[in-house]
Chain length 190, copies 6
């Protein structure tokens, strides 16, 4: 990491100074991914918040459910670009390309999901996710009906909303900390 | 609760069906507060998310730090009204009145903190919190300087941002679930 | 009033220096309410504007008509929070609680009328009032039709629009003068 | 008026059916102007509101003070175009041309006062008027200081704000009633 | 032109220094119109851009097609006021009055086309033009359907979009260069 | 191209039916690039507009001047993402990576140039370009001063504005025609 720009506005703790559980989580992701995504290093500045953040993330993104993993990442990528969050667009763009096995989908969904190569069902999903991200006060029963037409269950709707809400938080933390996307993410699965 | 309107758009689990740790947490808050705030009942629909949400909340709102507990609630109340979230404005308005020992402060901060009876330091804090809530992409070094002038440390700035970000998420979940503020909150500490 | 903060950015005239009709109006409201709402003191700085303001207010809020007095106050409270006007939200919130005999209604309507305990007819009324407050240029025949479906007459529609328009003015004057809500309002009818 | 389109969405009362004071006011303006501006006919539908509206208007626009009559009309024209109100832009555009003895000024101020042939003092005045019209919640002491630099007194600032606020109301009523500008206004003082 | 304010922020080349083709185009318009519209003088600062701009303009505004010349000017005038561009509103307002043989139409369309004396078909055209001007990312198949209902062909839709897009560019150049509308335009065809 | 989705909402002419000069231009780009960027095929539907568009493009993007070619592409990429235009973000993102010899720069500049690895001078350039793209009516002398501080000449400022303005047009045309970025662009210079 020596020659790269700093990865954020806040101090990044040395790995060896971190609590064992956090260090382990970081080492696991490093083994699996080949590098440590900066979100782990930036958020480790606050171990309790780190643990809650990761637990929340896993509860939403890794559990079984009606949304495919690629669809969950679509929600992340589209709402994160609406919030102008470079870390989340770049890092989750990479994950979306992997999950969807599609090298084009992430950029399409980031810039304008309305014109992306996705299904009408997925467009309805992203219409709702963007409303949660930008105008959640206006969500009403009609929005639930519009999703049910496409076969989304009540649990699916919770998932869409919860992912959009969780990244509303993540985007804001990444923007305030000036969290830098790792160089590795840009080229993954292109 | 029998004659009241439902507390949200999603099913509310029966207490006895909940995992023990969640039931305990709910019983503890009930003993302390005299009633169960609806956020516990609505979010218990998803036990893993419930646990992460509460751990995150406590890490931000209950820990020691440079911001007083009343100041943290000011951040919640001002940004939650900007997001038009009834649950958070009403419930955290009550907590703010209690923490600040001031029956007027919550309504003032909710509607327009610029004209509230707060210090210039607190106004700078809320200027920043609102920018995190509404335009986090534009946060820059100047915003950090403006807070440092008022004596905020780097850790305080993280706290302000993290609370605004966490309630960006909470507001969206409360709005989508149509989470109803408990009747009890409205009159507390008036 | 001695230990309280000033009630606005402009000088407040002494009661005895005011024209008789204005002094009388103020004394009448004081007798009825038990205190002098600050709007009377702030606007008395300009007697001619005071008289026109009060005449206009009474013509809209006190006359008979198809809207109940509580409904008129709902229009005031919802649009005033959209304009971030503390005086109008707090003072008319109190009046709304009194008129509706409901301690919860004002906070609900202020933060997000879409989720408030009001009828579908009242939601349609507030949809229109908010459009008048925020996007009046886009009001069209369809908006009239949407109200007629709920039984609103042409005169009712005028009333909704006129109240939203009058408080568009009031909110701006209260915001510019930094009009302070009287402490008494906060607790009325809670 | 026979071959012209209707002048608004609401019924226009026959002159002879109006209360004497309102009829007189209308006849006076007709004698002076040569025609009856439609605002008188549309608002006469509600005599009490008509009287209050006109009294308020005269208190702001006809009284002596630090703002010239042309400057008051500049406030009306710039904020009315921001609110997309055809009646007020066209009718007060005509009055502005007359008051300023300048055939170009009204269109310039309506579309973009920043580039109009006006003084820096007048630009500061319109900066403030537009803030009152569009973001009054954000008005603060700095805005007062910025005006004082240009020699505006506290009374002048009240006048600027009150005119912008009054036309916030007028624009909304004209938009909702679809108030048609009289054909005569367009060509006056070109 | 000696006693007039400068016509923009950038230097205006002397006619005799311009390439022959540009000088000819300017002399031709002067002969036809009686004066040189400032857009020619401001853009002549960059001959290559001048040529492309004029070629594009003529390809859109002077060719045959399903939109009348007055309708094309309506698109220019309504979107240019939305972009607060004085040059385009004033200059094309004059052309619109000439093309439509209607002294009132330009001001109506500029301030709020929804209330202008135009046909429902023309309102649909301007609904679409304004969406292209302000929210082009949200244009979808439904917008095409809404225009086809009024008899617009696919080529007409291209024309509406292309004119709104071209003036999105022109408005920005005119605003940045502070392009002054010629005094002559204001009174044409009133 | 057989198995790919269509490249837009409008018919794409066969190459052999196009005027010779347009066919030649397309064949030239195909030889140089290895494929035909879809913008050529979509805009060829209208030969005269095609010619003007390309002439304008070349006058701005290919001429010598104070802005490097990479800097010009930064303007395109940042403003095009603000306008949610997939074609321009993807195609010009590729060109930006090539011009800047930097595989990361395009995604950074697209999502939030404020946090990109660019110089303070380039950030000032993009601050101005974004103001031209989004709020050109508010451009004033202060904006020119802010650029001059960084050494931009008056000609450079024209170039920044003209590029932002030209792509305001291009983005709108690409969005309305649903112009599909060629698959080839995504991976170039990664």
């Amino acid at each position: 990491m020596t020659n790269r720009p700093p990865i954020g506005r806040f101090p990044v703790p040395e790995l060896e100074t971190l609590p064992a559980d956090i260090r382990e989580r970081i080492e696991t992701v490093q083994e699996k991914t080949g590098f440590v995504p900066n979100v782990f290093l930036v958020l480790a500045y606050r171990p309790d918040e780190f643990r809650a953040f990761m637990a929340y993330h896993d509860a939403l993104m890794d559990k079984p459910g009606g949304l495919s993993k690629a669809e969950r990442e679509m929600i992340v990528v589209s709402t994160s670009n609406a919030n102008h969050c470079p870390y989340c667009v770049v890092a989750h763009g990479a994950i979306l390309r992997v999950r969807a096995k599609d090298p084009l989908i992430a950029d399409q969904v980031a810039v304008n999901y309305r014109n992306a190569d996705i299904t009408p069902r997925q467009k309805a999903m992203l219409d709702f996710a963007m409303k949660v991200a930008l105008d959640s006060y206006a969500v009403g029963d009609d929005d639930f009906r519009a999703l049910e037409v496409h076969g989304f269950s009540q649990d699916d709707i919770w998932d869409i909303a919860a992912i959009a809400a969780f990244f509303a938080m993540s985007n804001r933390m990444a923007n305030v900390t000036d969290m830098r996307p790792n160089d590795e993410f840009y080229a993954i699965a292109r």
